[in-house]
């Protein structure tokens, strides 16, 4: 229902005593004016004003009473004026006619009032219905908004869960790959140790046999000496392969101490100098001078970079440029030791170092990129490589807690990126 404050303030809402007093004053007032001015008969309709007011504002009964009162006042005024045709019977007849007229008016006003009330009730009912519908709709909208919010939240939760699941799946895949890799490496290690032992004994026999034959007089002619030299070279090559296998399967312990990474790289470049010169490869150094000292096994890291450089050289058959770049890098996230280093004032960006080795060769075919660190994977001609060089690189770098990646560069050629962290060797 519409609140009272919202209702239109009409004459029907006037206070009852006020309306009665107004009507009570109007009727004698009109009679007095009638007496003083001698109004025309037609003007007597002015009495309808209080009658209609009383009927409309109060009730039909009040209207009838006011009609009777008006007729009585009119009759009294008529009697006092004593007009020429004022025969009592005629006056009574006129009064009766007037009363009937007033009563009809009262009835009409009353009907109009009731219709007005009925309409007003209907309007109020409809308004109440509309307000109720609006309230229901508002509630439904609020419910819908809440449901939407819950749905959005659920969707967000679902997306988070999905992202977590994807992350877990990726981590699981990584772990699985590492497990497969570890199992493979273990098999390779066992195989390598066995092969090394079984092959080295026959190699010893062959080597000693060559030594023996070389001392015989028949070995002094040029052809025999050439054959024996080739045999010796073959034994030495086979021995080198076996030694690589052994090294791969039993990399030994790390003997780390704080090292200058740039100095190790310079020594590795020195070791590869002969090959660099022979293959007409120019070295471009971009070494950051103030790298943090890193806990490294100098000999093993030298071996890492010699392998990386030789691998890059083999990709540049017609010469080229070997770019070696070093720079400080942020430490691994979530490493407690890194936090300790920060607490001691070491900048987070100073506690690791990266090395990039770029070649200007043809790059690595995409399908080979995932296998380059696999043991025995090689794209070189048979007898030209064991496929263990980069495997050993990765093994040694991992022993230091570092990472190694190989990727093609947009400008052409390949890039090997090796990263070391101050906490890597401590963990290993």
């Amino acid at each position: 229902v519409r609140p009272k404050s919202d209702r239109v303030w009409t004459i029907r809402h006037w206070p009852r005593p006020l309306v009665l007093a107004l009507c009570g004053l109007l009727i004698p007032g009109i009679g007095l004016v009638d007496y003083l001015t001698g109004m025309e008969a037609s003007v007597t309709v002015i009495y309808l004003l209080p009658i209609a007011l009383g009927t409309w504002a109060l009730s039909r009964r009040t209207g009838l009473l006011l009609a009777v009162a008006s007729v009585l006042v009119w009759l009294i005024v008529e009697r006092i004026q004593a007009v020429s045709y004022s025969h009592p019977l005629i006056q009574c007849w006129n009064a009766l006619t007037l009363l009937i007229f007033f009563v009809v008016v009262v009835l009409l006003v009353s009907v109009l009032g009731r219709s007005y009330e009925w309409l007003e009730e209907k309007v109020e009912e409809r308004t109440a219905e509309l307000l109720s519908e609006i309230a229901v709709r508002s509630k439904a909208e609020a419910d819908l908004a809440r449901a939407n919010a819950e749905l959005s939240q659920s969707r967000e939760d679902l997306m988070h869960t999905l992202a977590d699941l994807r992350k877990s799946h990726a981590a699981l895949q990584d772990t699985q790959l590492r497990l497969i890799q570890a199992a493979k490496m273990e098999s390779v290690g066992r195989l390598a140790a066995g092969v090394a032992h079984e092959v080295k004994n026959p190699l010893t026999t062959i080597m000693m046999g060559i030594d023996y034959v070389e001392q015989l007089p028949q070995a002094r002619d040029e052809a025999t000496a050439g054959v024996l030299k080739e045999q010796r070279d073959a034994v030495l090559r086979a021995t080198a392969i076996i030694n690589e296998l052994l090294e791969f399967s039993t990399p030994g312990e790390l003997h780390t101490q704080p090292e200058d990474l740039n100095a190790i790289i310079e020594r590795a470049l020195g070791l590869a100098k002969y090959e660099l010169t022979k293959r007409h490869v120019v070295v471009a150094r971009e070494l950051q001078p103030d790298l943090p000292a890193l806990p490294l096994d100098r000999n093993k890291i030298e071996q890492v970079f010699v392998n990386v450089f030789i691998n890059a050289l083999h990709a540049m058959a017609r010469g080229g440029t070997l770019t070696v770049r070093t720079y400080a890098t942020p430490a691994k996230p979530n490493a407690n030791a890194d936090a300790a280093a920060d607490a001691q004032g070491a900048g987070q960006d100073r506690i690791g170092a990266s090395v990039e080795v770029d070649d200007t060769g043809p790059g690595i075919p995409e399908e080979h990129l995932v296998r380059v660190f696999d043991p025995f994977f090689t794209t070189k001609a048979p007898g030209k490589g064991t496929g263990l060089g980069l495997s050993i690189v990765r093994q040694i770098v991992h022993m230091h807690g570092g990472t190694v990646d190989l990727a093609n560069r947009a400008a052409g050629g390949a890039r090997v990126t090796v990263r070391f962290f101050t906490t890597g060797a401590e963990r290993s």
């Binding site: 000693m208 046999g209 030694n243």
Partner: protein
């Protein structure tokens, strides 16, 4: 000049045969080849070598056990023993070998020159053996 007596113990007959052939060809050594490590102690007592070349990984009795038996014999314990093994690389021990646990360890395969250098160096040192 008295020839140095070398005892070569290896389960691989080809290895001991070639060691014997090569060393004896130099005219400086007399070599006894032993392919059954179980009989090494008895043969050593009989042969009384100046130096023993000993393989490490052998079936039934490995080089370490043979060395322990020889070291426990008062008549033999002063004889220097050189381990000749495929378990190490030249990169690890160098061409002349490396002392480990008081004994020289040499990597296979080995050339005649490396072997004679090693034998001579060990015979001159004698100390740790």
């Amino acid at each position: 000049m008295t020839k140095k007596k070398i005892m070569a113990i290896d389960d691989e007959p080809g290895v001991t045969r070639l060691i014997k052939l090569n060393l004896e060809t130099t005219g400086l050594y007399e070599v006894l080849a032993v392919n059954e490590p179980e009989s090494a102690l008895a043969q050593a007592r009989q042969f009384q070598p100046d130096l023993i070349l000993l393989d490490v990984m052998m079936p039934n009795l490995d080089g370490g056990e043979v060395a322990a038996q020889i070291g426990a014999d008062p008549a033999l314990q002063a004889i220097p023993i050189v381990y000749l093994t495929a378990a190490v690389t030249k990169k690890e021990v160098g061409p002349q070998g490396k002392f480990s646990g008081g004994r020289r360890v040499v990597a296979k395969p080995i050339t005649l020159k490396e072997l004679t250098d090693c034998i001579e160096a060990t015979l001159q040192e004698r100390g740790p053996c």
